[in-house]
């Protein structure tokens, strides 16, 4: 009898432990239900790490509208600088108890995070959400959020590049790479550079040079492999280096977007290749441009094709509030959410927003140019190990720039390293 009691106690303890463990596992991870839950039925707190940029402020300003429809979903924003974001996200994705229930992913991260299982596929949620119209997002932006045929991120905002120029100085938009080089040279004076460049080692150098490559008629990938030992790449590189020598501000080898923007807004440079949403910043009468506000215009990169960057909303696999996270994402990235966001100054992602009266009312020309830009744009990297591949190519470009390597050697090394990295 005594032995039987012991067995019973053991069984009871085992059952209790099993129940506790089951409880733990269900509370630590929650995969989104694929029902596209109704507004009133969803509740929870969604913690998300955002970059400290204007688009974050715009989304933050729309939270009251969201809560009018979803009163039981609380969205908590934590902001950080770009340098901190990826590491914080990876720490959260791999932790037993996550810090974030919703994530925004920069385009080079999507492939790696999807393969690592850090983020959930969203296909079922998209299909179950009435009127979401995923196909309405511009095709290049959709492609960035997809991996192995599944959707892991829906577009938040684009950062496609374009040519920003001073309309009082540039009489005709350059249509080719040679015209761009000639325009930059002709605009260079003792007090003002023709073009503010951003050849900073790594991502920035590749991002800027990628536009020159497209303008020269080249491409980054050929038959699924990185191919940079081409005449177009060589011409792009030679023009890029020559333009720096003849038309860029002196001692700007280490410059990034902020430096170039500052140079343009302080009348020290006449043009720059930058993110399309830098234009409103430059033309803001209360901003840094002062009397120059309103004189800046945006054009597609000569040749029509440009480098595309974007941020996507994604739901971590270990999110504690997947349903609430999707409720927010599907609201902010819906057609009406996009309309509100773009009207407030956010960078567009959906095709329909370009014909939306509210969104286009303020500056129709600007939005028309962005539509042109988004319809012919490509990211720097496709597939996995993108951060490493972009850094490797950007380092080689910078090496050619710094005179450490010849153009041919730098391009050959960039191609070899990029393919090796992406094959791993």
């Amino acid at each position: 009898m005594r032995k039987l009691n012991k067995v019973a106690k053991l069984a009871a303890i085992s059952a209790a432990v099993a129940v506790v463990l089951a409880g733990c596992s269900s509370s630590s991870e929650e995969t989104a239900t694929d029902t596209g839950a109704a507004a009133g039925a969803v509740s929870g707190t969604v913690r998300v790490l955002m970059e400290g940029v204007p688009d974050t402020d715009i989304v933050s300003g729309l939270l009251a509208d969201f809560n009018a429809e979803y009163p039981d979903v609380k969205v908590e924003f934590e902001t950080a600088s770009y340098d901190q974001m990826r590491d914080k996200y990876v720490a959260s994705f791999t932790a037993a108890e996550p810090s974030y229930d919703l994530a925004i992913l920069d385009n080079p991260w999507v492939g790696d995070f999807a393969k690592a299982g850090f983020v959930q596929p969203l296909d079922d949620l998209i299909a179950a959400t009435d009127g979401y119209d995923y196909a309405d997002f511009t095709a290049p932006l959709r492609a960035i959020g997809e991996s192995d045929g599944k959707v892991y991120g829906v577009p938040f905002y684009n950062y496609a590049l374009g040519l920003i120029y001073r309309s009082d100085l540039v009489t005709a938009e350059p249509a080719t790479l040679d015209e761009l080089a000639a325009t930059a040279k002709s605009l260079t004076t003792a007090d003002r550079a023709g073009i503010a460049m951003q050849p900073q080692k790594g991502y920035k150098a590749f991002e800027e040079w990628g536009n020159f490559l497209f303008a020269a008629g080249g491409s980054i990938y050929t038959d699924g492999k990185v191919k940079l030992t081409t005449p177009e790449a060589k011409k792009a590189m030679e023009t890029y280096i020559e333009m720096y020598k003849s038309s860029a501000p002196k001692n700007s080898l280490n410059w990034g977007p902020d430096d170039a923007l500052r140079s343009a807004s302080s009348d020290k440079s006449a043009m720059l290749v930058s993110y399309n949403w830098m234009l409103p910043k430059l033309n803001n009468p209360d901003g840094d441009s002062g009397a120059l506000a309103g004189k800046f215009k945006l054009a597609p990169i000569p040749g029509g094709k440009q480098v595309l960057g974007s941020w996507h909303w994604a739901i971590p696999t270990n999110s504690n509030a997947s349903d609430a996270a999707w409720a927010f994402v599907s609201w902010i990235s819906s057609k009406s959410g996009e309309s509100k966001r773009v009207t407030a100054g956010g960078a567009p992602t959906r095709t329909s927003v370009f014909t939306d009266p509210a969104a286009t009312a303020k500056d129709p020309d600007y939005l028309a140019t962005i539509l042109k830009i988004l319809s012919n744009a490509e990211p720097l990297c496709q597939g996995s190990n993108c951060d490493e591949m972009i850094t490797a190519v950007g380092t080689e470009i910078n090496a050619a720039f710094a005179g450490e390597k010849s153009v041919d050697d730098a391009l050959a090394a960039a191609e070899e390293q990029a393919n090796k990295i992406q094959a791993e």
Partner: protein, 284 residues
């Protein structure tokens, strides 16, 4: 267990937990192909990561850059520090104020110093380029062939006070009698410095140089805040390269092997230096 051993137990426990475990875990990682984004594929690969590191030209470049940085920075800091320490030793008035003022850079976190100099030397915003411009000079502080020296200059600015602190303490601890004897014998100031001050100071110099060199080998913040290893890979120090490999590119197995190889190199240098200090102490 002896009483002495029991007294050591708390220290041993803390040491095992805080140093031993991370070291052992990093060693285990260095024998695997661990990648943060491919954890499902982790397996033991033996010495493959070590061989890959030794065959990586960028690793050797990073070692060379770091070596140049350490040698030049510590050399300048030592001589400048010694010069200032000798001057401070002779100072009669406001000694405490001068000493605390000189030590200030040391108390600021290196990442803040990196950002400070990034803006001070910035072509558009910096006071120094603007000042140079007024006199018709132009110097690209972070340009090719110059960036590493700018980083060294920043290190010298921040860490010379550390040398001053140690060397001044050493100078003030020296017995006065040899100096008084030399003075009576009519020895010149330079002769006294070369034949008495420097030899007597050797133990302090050895420790100061060793500590500073080991610290300089960890240079990361200035590179992170200013150059990110560029132009090209001219300021790619070993710590930044390891960080890039392990954190930015997720390859923690490879980064662990890089760290272990660096640990071996540092250990060899430290053992050699300690032996030299020991032999100097025995046969001054």
């Amino acid at each position: 267990m002896s009483f002495r051993l029991k007294l050591m137990l708390p220290l041993l426990a803390v040491f095992t937990a805080s140093v031993g475990y991370p070291l052992l875990y990093a060693f285990y990682l260095s024998l695997t192909n661990y990648k943060i984004t491919a954890r499902y594929n982790t397996r033991l690969v033996g010495l493959k990561q070590y061989i890959a590191t030794l065959q990586d030209p960028n690793y050797w470049n990073a070692l060379q850059v770091t070596g140049t940085f350490v040698l030049l920075a510590v050399f300048i800091e030592f001589w400048l520090g010694l010069f200032i320490a000798l001057a401070l030793q002779k100072q009669k008035r406001i000694r405490n104020f001068t000493r605390s003022f000189l030590l200030t850079p040391m108390f600021v976190t290196p990442i803040a110093i990196g950002l400070l100099f990034r803006f001070l030397l910035h072509q558009q915003l910096g006071v120094i380029p603007t000042f140079l411009d007024k006199f018709g000079f132009s110097y690209d502080f972070f340009g090719p062939g110059k960036a590493l020296y700018s980083i060294i200059f920043i290190d010298v600015w921040q860490w010379t006070p550390f040398m001053v602190l140690l060397l001044l303490a050493g100078l003030e601890g020296l017995s006065r009698s040899p100096f008084e004897a030399a003075k009576v014998d009519g020895a010149s100031a330079f002769f006294t410095f070369r034949k008495i001050t420097l030899p007597l100071l050797v133990p302090v110099i050895s420790v100061a140089v060793l500590i500073r060199a080991l610290d300089a080998m960890k240079v990361f913040e200035y590179v992170f805040a200013i150059t990110r290893g560029g132009p090209a890979i001219q300021t790619m120090t070993i710590q930044y390269y390891t960080y890039q490999t392990g954190i930015q590119f997720y390859r923690l197995g490879l980064a662990s092997a890089m760290s272990y190889l660096l640990l071996i190199i540092v250990m060899v240098i430290v053992v050699i230096l300690f032996k030299r200090i020991e032999s100097t102490r025995k046969n001054p």
